[in-house]
Symmetry: C2
């Protein structure tokens, strides 16, 4: 059976301070990498969906991302369907 | 000055056990979400690049990802340029 992959990216909202990202950004010049003005660090979830990836399944996954994977008080999320061959489609 | 955004995704290699992803996958049915056969959890870095995003800058970012953002013994990474004018642009 074909397995579809859905990617959920969860990032802190732009107005929320991101100390992890700041730590990375400050470390870069010390390590010899200049020219990066900002770094934000977030989470990426790759979900393998068994069964058809129809609109109902995507709605369910968006609900799951909103209630469980992301804390929407401080985080934004995006749901993308990823072609296992590498191409991507925004949903 | 235009600022370009580069996204570095860091995921555990497929052959490496991912206990965080497994914990999420096992929690989903308890929360009422069926049909997700596998979950992998990784990191997403959004880098704002000051200056031109030419091939030299991208090469530098790939080097940075390889030596600093990812542990290439157990992790794979991808580097993507993201269009800031896209749907996610600030309004």
């Amino acid at each position: 059976m074909p397995v579809a992959r859905v990617v959920v990216d969860v990032m802190l909202k732009p107005e929320i301070l991101d100390p992890q990202g700041q730590a990375v950004q400050r470390a870069l010049p010390r390590l010899g990498f200049e020219g990066i003005s900002d770094v934000r660090q977030g989470k990426r979830f790759e979900l393998e969906v068994a069964g058809p990836l129809d609109e109902a399944a995507l709605t369910r996954i968006r609900e799951m991302a909103e209630t469980f994977l992301a804390n929407t008080v401080i985080e934004d999320f995006t749901v993308k369907v990823e072609d296992v061959d590498g191409a991507k489609a925004e949903s």
